[in-house]
């Protein structure tokens, strides 16, 4: 389990992380969500022992990061932002170095390196110098060094940043595969990633923890949650007819789409489909909205800013 207790970090007069507290259980993929410069990376740097907190602390599987840093670091695999690597070394030599610092020697080190390389499909580039690799391969090498010792805690700072859509998909698949028995913390500013990957999400802005919920829980905060969006020829008529329903609170026409927002009574989707059927409208598209994460994100971070 990870327990962060009022983690705080100042850079001179700037308060980068402001009393962030949380607990994470194994099996969780936790997403740190926030604008650039929100304090996500700084929080990760404190958890992984790179930066000392200005105040507060965190306990990683029973090891306090301030007083028992080495033991805490042994529990973690870390991919720093941008996946920095020793470019002049070959992939194999680099992974061997990490394996040795993790306390593996001889054939055990070799076995660990081979297993991590296998898992991330690095076989063909093992002898290649890291700086000659493509971005996707470099990221995989970064992930390989993080999982080499099969740590119970994985901390990945923007693991998919700068990758193409296929590579992003690949990296997400890997994280999902490794997740079940671990604590995985990723940071991202890509909202879809939270939905695709995380079981829990925290919105951080200006160093403060503004929301801590499951992705579905966050979506439920959206005003689009359970709204119905449709497209058809005569939007004006539809808007006035659907706006009059007891189940609807508000209608909105935007860029050729009509969105009906639910009131507190009845099932809006049923009511809308019934109306469409009764009126004999020809509808091109009809969609029940789960909620819009970008809208929740904006609302939460704007509110945080105002506070």
């Amino acid at each position: 389990m990870i327990e962060a207790k009022s983690l705080t970090r100042r850079y001179g007069p700037l308060l980068a992380v402001d009393r962030i507290s949380f607990q994470v259980e194994p099996g969780t993929v936790l997403g740190f969500l926030g604008p650039n410069g929100a304090g996500k990376s700084t929080t990760m740097k404190m958890l992984t022992g790179f930066l000392a907190p200005s105040a507060g602390t965190a306990v990683i599987h029973g090891h306090d990061i301030r007083t028992d840093s080495l033991a805490a670091r042994r529990q973690m695999g870390y991919l720093p932002e941008g996946a920095p690597l020793y470019g002049e070394l070959s992939v194999e030599r680099f992974l061997k170095f990490v394996a040795e610092t993790r306390g593996f020697r001889g054939s055990e080190a070799h076995r660990r390196v081979a297993a991590a390389a296998e898992r991330l499909s690095l076989g063909e580039v093992m002898a290649q110098t890291i700086e000659t690799l493509s971005k996707g391969f470099k990221r995989r090498v970064g992930l390989a060094q993080a999982i080499l010792h099969d740590p119970p805690v994985l901390i990945l700072d923007e693991p998919t940043d700068g990758l193409d859509p296929n590579q992003k998909h690949e990296v997400r698949r890997l994280i999902r595969e490794m997740a079940p028995d671990k604590i995985t913390i990723i940071s991202t500013h890509i909202l879809e990633e939270v939905d695709a990957l995380c079981t829990r999400a925290m919105i951080i802005a200006r160093g403060r923890l503004l929301a801590d919920d499951s992705p579905t829980g966050l979506l439920a905060r959206s005003r689009y949650h359970n709204a119905v969006t449709l497209t058809m020829d005569d939007l004006e008529t539809a808007a006035s007819r659907l706006g009059a329903l007891a189940e609807s609170r508000e209608v909105e026409v935007r860029r050729g789409h009509l969105t009906v927002f639910p009131s507190s009574q009845g099932n809006l989707f049923d009511a809308v489909t019934r109306t469409i059927h009764d009126e004999g409208w020809k509808v091109d598209q009809l969609q029940l909205e789960a909620g819009r994460l970008d809208e929740v994100f904006r609302t939460v971070t704007d509110a945080g800013e105002a506070a």
Binding site: Y11, K45, T48, G49, F50, L51, L70, R73, R74, M76, Y78, P80, E81, G82, P84, L85, Y86, G87, E88, L89, S90, R93, F97, V98, E100, T101, R102, G103, T129, Q145
Partner: protein
């Protein structure tokens, strides 16, 4: 200290994976030979010793050692690998010491590669090999002093050029602290005891006695203290600056 060797080996692997090692060794050997034969008058003196060889080492190191030391931490900080390194389960002491020792061993290796000059002087005459051995040791110790200064200043910046220039300047001050050029600056406003203290910091003075074959414990302790002081400072600077 289990990881000291691990870091040391990785560092050395990096030297030889890039042209750094080869360029350094070649330049070092050419320069030391050029100084010995042209400026030192190795043949003209007609004395079977290596004094003209060792005499120029402080000046050679003044530029070559900061060139090795400048990358130690500045490069790690520039490429962000310092974050990777210091979140592995190694202590800052292991990291600082491992990097320093790798570079020091590498310089030692380059120094050993000057052995043809030792063969030459033994073929031409009957030198005192004890004195030569002492001079080699002194030269290596002095290189360690320069290197510790360079390593510490390398941690202060992420720009290698800045690290190089700072290191050359500080090494230059340490080299010359026994000469009037430096002492006159202090003489006017510091008590004589402190001026003497500064004079005693000079690398030239301590290296001079070792290179004449006099291994005085005080000189060994002096270089040990210089290295220890700057590596401790290195640890502190690293801790302060790594977040920037």
């Amino acid at each position: 200290m289990n990881n000291l060797g691990v870091i040391l080996r990785r560092e050395l692997a990096s030297y030889f994976a890039t042209p750094v090692a080869y360029v350094f060794i070649v330049i070092y050997l050419i320069m030391s030979a050029a100084f010995t034969f042209y400026l030192g008058g190795f043949y003209e003196r007609e004395i079977a010793d290596l004094e003209p060889f060792f005499r120029f080492h402080p000046w050679l190191y003044l530029f070559l050692v900061p060139a090795i030391g400048m990358r130690l931490w500045a490069e790690e900080r520039k490429y962000g690998t310092v974050e990777l390194l210091l979140t592995l389960p190694i202590t800052p002491t292991e990291a600082v010491l491992g990097k320093f020792l790798a570079a020091w061993l590498f310089i030692g290796m380059s120094l050993l590669l000057t052995f043809p000059i030792w063969i030459t002087v033994n073929v031409l005459g009957n030198p005192d090999n004890g004195v030569i051995l002492a001079a080699y040791l002194g030269s290596w110790l002095m290189a360690g002093g320069f290197l510790a200064i360079s390593a510490c200043l390398s941690a202060a910046t992420r720009n290698q050029v800045v690290a190089f220039i700072l290191a050359v300047v500080v090494c230059f001050l340490f080299l010359l602290s026994g000469l009037p050029l430096v002492l006159d600056v202090f003489r006017g406003w510091l008590p004589q005891a402190m001026v003497d203290g500064i004079a005693n910091l000079s690398f030239l003075v301590h290296f001079g006695s070792i290179s004449r074959g006099v291994i005085d414990l005080r000189d060994l302790v002096y270089f040990g203290l210089v290295i220890g002081f700057w590596l401790t400072a290195n640890r502190i600077v690293l801790e302060l600056k790594k977040a920037d």
